[in-house]
Amino acid sequence: MDLVEAHSAIVAPRGIWWRPAGKQEKIWVTLAFIWCMVLFAMMPIWHLKGGQNPSGVRAKVAPADYFARVEKFVGDYKVGEDGGMPVVAPPPGSEIYLLGQMWRWYPVLKLKEGAHYTLHLSSLDINHGFSLYPVNLNFQIVPGYDYGLKIVPNKAGDFRIVCNEFCGINHHMMVGRVIVE
């Protein structure tokens, strides 16, 4: 029995309430659905056409092994020091290694504008947040996981790495440096 009636949301609806939608509802639901499909499609499209994706070359790695890789990288390409921290200038195209640990980013990187690198990120102890400032590039650093991001710096500058995942009492002191020439 389909009554011409309207009731509020606290009333138990009687009869058959499974009714076709009105015209305005249909317009809105259709528009909203199309929009949702646009939202979905944008992501694969950007993977194909866009320049920024969080894909990375990913692997599991024991913190001790990752530390050894970082030290080898520092040994190979070190060019100086900055406040006690080694400054490392890897050649374009190379695999570069950065680690986060309570409470520092190690080492300082010196990169070339327009060059391609694979930037490996991992933590030696707990979760940290890699936040390249002022670019505003943000990634989660998880111990036991190597996040190898293919990056191309597009502007020269003196950048900072801020830790943006809570990592203990000196979290605010965890600041690193990336120089791009």
Binding site: V4, I10, A12, L31, A32, F40, Q52, I151
Partner: protein
Amino acid sequence: MATIAQALIAGPRSRTCEVTGLTVEWHAETLLKVNAVVAVVNFLIGVIAAFGVVMTRWQAVHLLPADLFYRFLTLHGLNMLIFFIIFFEMAVLYFAGPILLSCRLPAPRVGWLAFALMLLGMLVVNTMVLQGRADVLFTSYPPLQAHPLYYLGIILFAVGALLVTALFFATLVVARRERTYEGSIPLVSFGALTAAIIAVITLLHGAVIYIPTLLWSLGYMTIDPQVYRMVWWGLGHSSQQINVAAHVSIWYLLAALTVGGVVVNEKISRMAFVLYVLFISMASAHHLLVDPGMGPAWKVWNTSYAMYLAVLASMVHGFTVPAGIEMGQRLRGYTHGAFEWLKKAPWGDPGFSGMALSVVIFGFIGGITGVTIGTEQINIIVHNTLRVPGHFHSTVVGGTALAFMAVTYYVLPLIFRKRVAFWGLAKLQPYIFGLGIVILSMSMIFQGIFGVPRRHWDVSFANAPFQVEYHPAVQIFQATMGLGGLLAIAGGLAYIVIAVVTVFFGRPFRLGDTRDPSGVPPGIWRLPRQVHEGASVAAAHQTGTPGTLVLVLIFFSAFILYYFANWKILSFLWKVG
């Protein structure tokens, strides 16, 4: 205690509500009350913690030292997101189940046991945090480790909440069998049902993650930090979906009580709630979009296909709730032009204004920013910046908490049978709180766009090896964040004072006592028609809801603009892949 014991022995007593005609059973009503009162106490703890947090993030003030800041931040997250909201949702279940269906509460002892478990769990957790034995923040990411009792307290709380949802399901069965209502359950109860189903899924994720974590804290097993993040967010985001289902149900409830808002189409509204149930867990992926443990296929699939159907559901309710209000208002005679129904709506009724503000803040700020920043690639410029708490203060606080405040103004006279204290202040309270939250959220979002981190004690980075200079605008937004936060805190304290004074010292409310209307919302003095029949309805369906259509098209335009603007900003970044 004595009266509880008496009632347990003597069996159920009930009364007939003079306003709605519903049969209200004593256990259901009393359990609603105790859960609501404890919810407000936890809200107070959360507000005090909020003061410490926001006055520290405003660097010019920088109130707390580092250790207390992170402790207050932990306290704030737990008491707001878990204890306040879930205790309040237990009250919502008692309302939407036994009370709305005029049914007795089967097995009230289970309800009392559940309440005791939740209370105990909450006290254990808060004690651990205050003692400094759980400085791990609300997410407690391993390898950060808290005292085992912290995890045990959360498990106890979750078990209690699960029992209440079980009791809710049992009530639905009993109500049907004892035929306490005819037809299908009302939409509000249906919405609460979907919230309860999502709660079960959420709490099961919680068990899967907190039990191993408890064992790990006792030294019995290891935990992979990436797996923890993945499973924890299955609990963490799904719990927000409970909140959404609950506050949308409350929107429909308040629309009915304040203006006689109607359900434009039961099928559409119910299908939208079902979409929430089907797709919540997958949406949790948007917390893991820049994590190393999962690949792009997993990220895109989970954050999109599923979340966008849940987004579709929200966009549907974003239409049907205002449309229901518009149609209800048109049926009451406000038919002039496209917007008389809105202009002549009861903006002085805090039940209405709180609900309306909740719809707008949740939709415009919360929804639009949320979907955008939950896009796999756009998340790169957002993750762990202050944009994230800016977003979720507009959804959970501007959306859920404000809706809960709005419904409180009806619960106080209807369930607690008291006139609302400080009625003049009560009428202003949703506006004060809403405005404060909007200013706070927008300020955090702008700071995040400039790269300011979340969960951070000192963004002047004093004593760090390298200096960081933020854009000068950041200082301005810190000040507006502080001021917006203070305004919201004022609004929150007003709510607490009004609620506490009303419950314990309020003047009794009797429907017949109309000489002095203050302290009781207009919808209670004269409940709007809840059912309309005949020619007026046919005419209303013909006209439809032109005002709402305009409003949602404005919303849609804002959505499209904000979304594509963010892709543009992303495109300026270094190439990364």
